[in-house]
């Protein structure tokens, strides 16, 4: 599970630089939440592209997370990247005044998609490619809003577990204030990832690492000392979120179909 931090830093800065240049972008843009993942991504982008080519959008819902907003602002000043605050409460409130709900997951998803919509708009305005910040733990568990925080142009952090990002963040010198923050998707006040998933990241990542990277069987993982219910819960989260990691299925009828046998690389002529 332990990573070689300088090597990973080198890979990810090279990746950001190379992908942007392939698609003729000079600038990268990302949502800054004041949390760990977006901080690490912004740091790597600033290093890869120069700080003046990185735009951090801070996209709060009203005053709900004013401390995180402050942390994100301070961090973007530290990195010397451009930043901008856009409050999404007018758009979100307007929608929910027409279609009210008390379901906080619905509200949280709407906010995540509102942020996505602003990021894509600014991506076009600023000619900046969107850098995703979904880590491997979230991608595997499906802990993210489809077409919300999971939407991006490239995702530099997608092959690092949360605990590996913590390790990288310490090496990169991300301020302790951000590193020690309790991980939260920021969907509502008091929400924490670990509270919602019901397990601490350390334990989740150890199990995911065995299941995914080491291809260990469920039986052997349980035998090595993890609780049966925990392992089964993680497997079921992975299974039920496969739709978030794929393009939607298309019924194949013709002799050559998108998603089936019309097969071209993402980096076509790049």
């Amino acid at each position: 599970m332990k990573i070689n931090e300088p090597f990973v830093e080198k890979i990810l800065t090279a990746f950001i630089r190379e992908e942007l240049s392939k698609f003729n972008y000079k600038k990268g843009i990302l949502g800054l939440s004041g949390g760990l993942d977006s901080a690490v991504c912004a740091f790597l982008a600033a290093k890869a592209l120069k700080p003046s080519n990185v735009i951090g959008l801070i996209i709060p819902y009203g005053e709900t997370f004013s401390k995180d907003v402050k942390d994100a602002q301070e961090f973007s000043r530290l990195l010397k990247i451009k930043s901008r605050i856009i409050n999404i409460s007018p758009m979100v409130d307007s929608y929910f005044s027409s279609y009210p709900t008390e379901n906080r997951i619905l509200k949280g998803n709407k906010m995540a998609r509102e942020r996505m919509s602003i990021l894509y708009d600014f991506s076009a305005r600023e000619k900046a490619l969107i850098l995703g910040t979904s880590n491997k733990t979230e991608l595997l568990l499906g802990y993210g809003t489809i077409h919300g925080d999971m939407a991006c142009g490239i995702n530099p952090l997608g092959d690092l577990y949360k605990t590996q990002i913590r390790q990288l963040a310490e090496y990169l010198g991300i301020p302790e204030k951000i590193r020690k923050k309790i991980p939260s998707a920021g969907l509502w006040i008091g929400q924490t990832d670990e509270g919602e998933i019901g397990l601490p990241y350390d334990e989740i990542d150890k199990i995911l690492y065995q299941l995914v990277d080491k291809r260990t069987s469920k039986k052997d993982i349980i035998a090595s000392g993890f609780k049966k219910e925990t392992v089964e819960k993680i497997i079921s989260l992975i299974k039920n979120s496969e739709f978030k990691r794929k393009l939607p299925p298309i019924p194949k009828m013709s002799s050559r179909s998108v998603g089936h046998d019309f097969l071209f690389p993402f980096d076509w002529d790049k």
């Binding site: 599970m1 332990k2 990573i3 070689n4 090597f7 990973v8 080198k10 890979i11 090279a14 990746f15 190379e18 992908e19 019309f262 097969l263 071209f264 690389p265 993402f266 980096d267 076509w268 002529d269 790049k270």
Partner: protein, 282 residues
């Protein structure tokens, strides 16, 4: 003899741009009086081609790019990778050895990785042989990437009498817990050391760099001498032009000391293989 390895990052699916890149390295090699310049696997096309395979395929006998590379090989011998349309509609992942204006040999990749992130068997026809051929520098044999990890393939080049074994590769790195490189780089180096030592032959491995669809090619091209000693090594992740003088007399010297080649018995191996195959169940 001067050998140069072009550890490059081709543009995916754009033969013309990659041809220009080859010419650039050929010019560089000529200025340094290089005898043999080696490019990575699928250097004229890029690796993750999928359905582009048919569009970028070349027929060596009737292709202007091939003609120009043949001409260039009057000044410097060349090894490079391309998609070959040998029979109509059949596409091979091939390596060409050009020298003195002619095609000396074409190797067609035999072991096409088709598992996990690899899908070569879906798009390429399988090669059928491992030849040793004569070059101005001695007998040589070629393998492409995964071929090299099958020691039976290496043995065929040894048995065939290769003095110089050339491996061209597009190997993505995996594993980030290692010291200074992807963990999989060690696998290639370990093969390089072993095969050079026990074949008492030069082992030249040219890998590529850069990203394609998120796959990160791990570089780290190298040359081992016939004593199994590393004599040249390129960086792991960056473009590089690796130039190395090698002494072909090393082959003769080491074979006096370690007579693996003299003592090899391919006829015994062949008969034993036949017996193994005869026991295959239907």
């Amino acid at each position: 003899m001067k050998v140069a390895l072009a550890q490059i990052s081709p543009r995916l699916g754009n033969v013309e741009k990659n041809f220009d890149l080859h010419l650039k390295y050929i010019e560089k090699a000529k200025k340094k009086n290089v005898d043999l310049l080696i490019f990575p696997e699928l250097s004229l096309t890029g690796y993750t081609l999928k359905d582009l395979v048919g569009e970028v395929a070349l027929s060596p006998d009737s292709n202007p790019i091939f003609d120009e590379l043949k001409t260039a090989s009057r000044d410097v011998s060349l090894v490079f990778g391309f998609v070959e349309e040998k029979e109509r509609g059949l596409f091979y992942n091939s390596a060409a050895f050009l020298s003195e204006g002619k095609i000396v040999h074409i190797h067609r990749k035999v072991f096409l990785p088709t598992y996990g992130m690899f899908e070569e068997g879906k798009f390429f026809a399988q090669g059928k042989n491992f030849h040793t051929f004569s070059t101005p520098y001695g007998n040589a044999g070629m393998m492409i990437c995964r071929d090299f990890l099958h020691y039976g393939a290496c043995y065929l080049l040894f048995a065939g009498g290769s003095d110089i074994i050339i491996v061209i590769s597009a190997a993505p790195g995996r594993g980030i817990q290692g010291k200074e490189a992807y963990e999989t780089s060690r696998m290639w180096e370990s093969m390089g050391e072993t095969i050079s030592l026990f074949s008492t032959a030069f082992l030249i491995y040219c890998n590529r760099v850069g990203f394609e669809d998120g796959k990160h090619f791990a570089g780290g091209s190298f040359i081992y001498n016939p004593m199994g000693k590393l004599v040249a090594k390129a960086s792991y992740l960056d473009n590089e032009f690796l130039l190395q003088e090698i002494n072909l007399n090393d082959i003769r010297e080491v074979r006096k000391k370690w007579p693996y080649k003299r003592d090899d018995r391919p006829e015994i191996i062949l008969e034993a293989l036949k017996r193994i195959i005869s026991k295959y169940e239907d």
